[in-house]
Amino acid sequence: MKKYLFILRQAPYSSYQNLEAIETALALATFMQKVSLLFIENGVLQLLRDQNANLIRHKQFTQAYAGLNLFDIKDVFVSNTALNQFGLRKEDLNSNITIINNSQIATLMQQNDIVITI
């Protein structure tokens, strides 16, 4: 078993790869792989509550982040730096997300075997 880390750095609807990444992460979890997610840069916007992508004819996929623990994905992180850049607080985000700083991000990347950056 390998440890997978997905790093999401794009705004939610700027690319379909964001939806595909979460779909892939969930699929890997069903293969009993250890999966973690890290949101940095514009990627933090994926975590905002109360989004409605249906208005722009895009599937609303970000609510999946609230139910990741059902798939045994418990390690979901967001960059402190990115949150500050957008003036966001923990209350603005979906629940169960851990805020980490840059040195913790470096440690996280070292702890995982496979890093997939979107």
Binding site: M1, K2, Y16, Q17, E20, E23, Q33, I114, I116, I118
Partner: protein, 115 residues
């Protein structure tokens, strides 16, 4: 060393880095356990891509690489279906592959590179 290469960039957008990585790794006698085309990488498999004659055609380069080293180029079925690239439209050397196959290859690999 045993590598798995995940290509997630399309044929117009930087997947040359992935091709070059694969060619170099094989020339240096590393093993490529699997080359897997995920997300926009699935575009690389489309045999109907017809590049102008004075530009490079990566799909042909991938097929040539697969033929020279007897490799299978695995394409994520969900990714290719979304992009309108059915298996009968794949260039030579490309074949549909499941995420389960990718996981099995990653388990065997020393390094997984995603470009």
């Amino acid at each position: 060393m045993k590598f798995v290469l995940i290509v997630r960039t399309n044929h117009l957008n930087n997947s040359y880095s992935a091709l070059k990585f694969a060619q170099t790794a094989l020339q240096l006698e590393h093993e490529l356990e699997c080359i897997y085309f995920l997300f926009d990488g699935a575009y690389c498999a489309n045999q109907q891509i017809d590049m102008p004659s004075d530009e490079y055609s990566l799909a042909k380069d991938w097929s040539d690489l697969a033929a020279s080293y007897n490799l299978t180029l695995g394409v994520c079925a969900a990714s290719s279906t979304r992009r309108g690239i059915a298996p009968n439209n794949f260039a030579p050397g490309f074949a549909p592959a499941s995420l389960g196959q990718l996981v099995a290859s990653c388990d065997l690999a020393d390094r997984v590179v995603c470009l």
